[in-house]
Symmetry: C2
């Protein structure tokens, strides 16, 4: 099955043995999927706008993030299907809001640490 060398026999290093806990493939997939939702600038701006604005309709979101309404709708579909946002229909407008309570903390953390550049790690 695995043709990769198992490093236990021939290893002579004194560092920590490679028997650490690793994320399961499934757990890694769950987390990666979550991070992937935030890994596109347009989608990230949509999420951020919703965190700030509370509830916004598609056309407002489109003009805020400066992409077409169609592209916005496609992105919102992803966010919707992943459970990150929910919708409320009112007349012919559809209002989107954040449904995943965790994403705010995650995004806030990233903003705090990667945007406010307390010039640490470059």
């Amino acid at each position: 099955m695995s043709d990769m060398a198992i490093p236990s026999e021939q290893s002579d290093h004194r560092h920590r043995p490679p028997s650490e806990e690793v994320l399961s493939i499934d757990d890694a997939q769950v987390l990666a999927d979550r991070f992937k939702l935030l890994s596109d600038p347009s989608r990230l701006r949509i999420v951020y706008a919703l965190l700030e604005g509370g509830e916004l309709c598609v056309s407002n979101l489109a003009s805020l993030v400066e992409v077409s309404e169609s592209a916005t709708s496609h992105q919102l579909r992803q966010l919707r299907m992943s459970g990150l946002v929910r919708t409320r229909k009112q007349g012919r407008e559809v209002f989107y809001r954040i449904a995943d309570s965790h994403v705010r903390l995650l995004l806030d953390t990233a903003v705090e640490h990667y945007l406010h550049e307390h010039d640490g790690h470059r």
Copy 2:
């Protein structure tokens, strides 16, 4: 508890569009690039293994995450070029370690909120 998401007064990259606060395109790109590094299961497992193991060489990482050494090396190249990891060469082995101090908090937060099945928001 204060809201840390809103850029502070002294920050020079904040801007106020007429209605809502939106991330600038550049800021969104920076954050999205960061999230993208964590958006692949194999790469995420590599990062996690390094957070747990402290310092690991390529072959150990490869067997831990169960992908080929070549694939591991390719992923490590991305992490290296983005400044998320650093290397230390010892003999013919190259040891990788986490260089971005923020990624631990980010990943821990995600693990805490998305893996431990505390049904909050669905």
